[in-house]
């Protein structure tokens, strides 16, 4: 079983996001990137499947800011092979283009199963995993929280609202959008990542060329303004507690 995990970086949301002077893009000078957290779950699920059934886990990513670190971290966690698609994506890339590049790369790397994160914070034009599935003409299930293998099929749980799930049997190869791995994604010790930098090699895989437009253009980006503004409760913890108690009383909640 060869499991391919395409991974993408997104702006680190812990940092303040600034919009640049054009009003249409994030200010990239101060942007920090990190691995999309749902991709981390996809990798974890891939590693768990490998531990259960054998096979190999192959990670592929786009050429942007922290790509090398992302790939070596994947090795440190247990991935077998790492690929980078050349073509500088530091200026950002839309999901249709990313999915097309992953599709081209996937065909030349080969795979039995593709796991991606369910979504990412900057998916303006849709989720990469499901776009990828369609570009490859493969069956797909998104929002997957449980995954097991039965012969040439996978049994997956797709989450709906209210805790209800649907169980599907899917003939492989297929693409799944992973919402959450069975376990919290493992941690890669820094020493192991450092070792991977020294001993592992990043391979290159072509992503082909992608069309320039995806049929919509960004007019502007802005911080959402909420209709109602929260009233600040300030002071020492004890002051704050006192004020909360007062307002709970005044609202008949205490």
């Amino acid at each position: 079983m060869k499991i391919l995990v395409p991974m993408k970086q997104v702006p680190d949301l812990v940092e303040e996001l600034e919009i640049d002077s054009s009003g249409k893009r994030l200010n990239r000078d101060f942007l920090k990137f990190k691995l999309n957290e749902f991709d981390e779950h996809a990798l974890e699920e891939a590693l768990l499947l490998k531990e259960q059934h054998g096979g190999e886990v192959v990670v592929v990513t786009l050429d942007m800011a922290e790509a090398d670190n992302l790939l070596f971290t994947a090795i440190a966690k247990g991935a077998d092979k790492i690929f980078k698609i050349p073509g500088n994506c530091d200026e950002g890339i839309d999901c249709h283009s990313a999915a097309q590049m992953f599709a081209t790369a996937a065909k030349s790397i080969g795979f039995d199963l593709i796991l991606t994160g369910v979504q990412a914070a900057d998916d303006r034009d849709g989720q990469v995993g499901m776009l990828l599935a369609a570009f490859l003409g493969l069956p797909h299930v998104s929002v997957v929280t449980g995954l097991s293998l039965e012969g040439a099929s996978a049994i997956v749980h797709k989450e709906y609202a209210g805790g209800v799930m649907a169980e599907f049997e899917v003939v492989l190869p297929a693409v799944f959008g992973i919402q959450a791995a069975r376990h919290t994604p493992r941690y890669a010790p820094v020493s192991k990542v450092r070792q991977a930098w020294k001993t592992s090699k990043i391979e290159t895989v072509d992503g082909g060329t992608v069309p320039a437009s995806n049929g919509s253009v960004v007019n502007r980006m802005f911080k959402p303004e909420s209709g109602k503004r929260a009233e600040l409760i300030e002071g020492s913890p004890d002051d704050v507690a006192g004020k909360i108690v007062d307002l709970l009383k005044s609202r008949g909640l205490l």
Partner: protein
């Protein structure tokens, strides 16, 4: 037709989801502005009574087939793709839900129709469509213009008023057969898995203390439990807490958890991601505690405490106990 707006109805267990009516209401407005028809598309088996509820639409396309009895990413995509290809609507609105995620993006790639996702705002001015997407976990909105003749828009639940999408009118229903065989597909529905019954039903609680990743460890949950007990409420949580196995699924609030409307919703270390907010925005009073003054939770909270929950919670628990004497 070139100016029509299609809305893909979503349903589970023979019930249309709220977002269906929200999309219909918005779709009505857009179709009128573009001089086109509003068409609802309902896929399923034995869905006559569902189709009858879609009277806000000028017409309903109903694809009724035993193979469509349960949602299936593959069967539904195949059928919807042929309907859209055949009818060429200007806009196709699909919910940005679990089911919708298996339709919108694949359809876009397959039919080469642009997609704008996470739509929370939609307008049309002399045929020009503008979409506002909620991105970066609710921290930044992005407004896009559609530059091609057709587009697919995936719509976030709770973005538009549902009332405008409901009507007593009986819609005209057009029955359409699937254009290709739905046998021997690669994705087979097996069963629905219901959540395990739980001790507490958080949708019935009047006061919820809701914890997020800011609580840091399972051991710290006791702090929040003590506060909830003092308040006479229960404890709920954001998704990561459940994924970590710290609390049962029945305590999860949000898109893939429960929707709650308590009198009081007090959040501790929850950032306010759109998927969480979807499940709690209708709470009567929302108090949020978060160390990050820019956390999106403050955009929907009534009261904001910018501070460390580990300072606030013990003080608050003590005060409440004192107040109750």
């Amino acid at each position: 037709m070139p100016n029509d707006v299609f809305v893909v109805a979503e349903h589970l267990k023979n019930k249309l989801s709220d977002v269906t009516f929200e999309m219909l209401g918005k779709g009505r407005e857009i179709a009128d502005a573009c001089g086109g028809k509003l068409v609802a598309v309902v896929l399923g088996s034995g869905t006559k009574d569902l189709a009858a509820q879609l009277g806000v639409a000028d017409s309903v396309i109903s694809v009724d087939d035993p193979a469509l009895e349960h949602f299936s990413p593959e069967a539904y995509r195949i059928v919807l793709s042929s309907v859209v290809k055949d009818r060429q609507p200007k806009l196709t609105l699909i919910a940005n839900t679990s089911m919708g995620m298996d339709l919108a993006a694949p359809l876009s790639a397959e039919l080469n129709i642009p997609l704008v996702a996470y739509c929370k705002g939609l307008s049309a001015d002399s045929g020009n469509v503008s979409v506002t997407s909620q991105l970066y976990a609710g921290k930044v909105d992005v407004e896009s213009s559609i530059t091609s003749a057709q587009a697919i828009i995936s719509v976030l639940a709770g973005s538009f008023a549902g009332d405008a999408g409901r009507s007593e009118r009986t819609p005209s229903i057009e029955e359409v057969r699937p254009s290709t065989s739905l046998n021997d597909l690669r994705v087979k529905f097996r069963r629905l898995v219901e959540p395990e019954p739980s001790d507490v039903d958080i949708t019935k609680e009047e006061k919820l203390v809701s914890i997020g990743r800011g609580i840091q460890s399972q051991d710290n949950i006791a702090l929040a439990e003590e506060l909830a007990a003092a308040l006479g409420g229960a404890i709920s949580a954001s998704r990561p807490i459940i994924d970590n196995g710290w609390l049962p699924k029945s305590r999860q609030v949000g898109k893939s958890g429960m929707s709650v409307k308590p009198k009081l919703y007090l959040t501790l270390g929850i950032s306010g991601a759109p998927e969480h907010v979807e499940g709690m925005k209708d709470a009567a009073t929302i108090i949020a505690v978060n160390t990050d003054p820019r956390a999106p939770i403050f955009d929907i909270a009534d009261y904001a405490v910018v501070g460390d929950l580990f300072d606030i919670v013990p003080a608050l628990t003590e005060r409440i106990k004192g107040a109750k004497g």
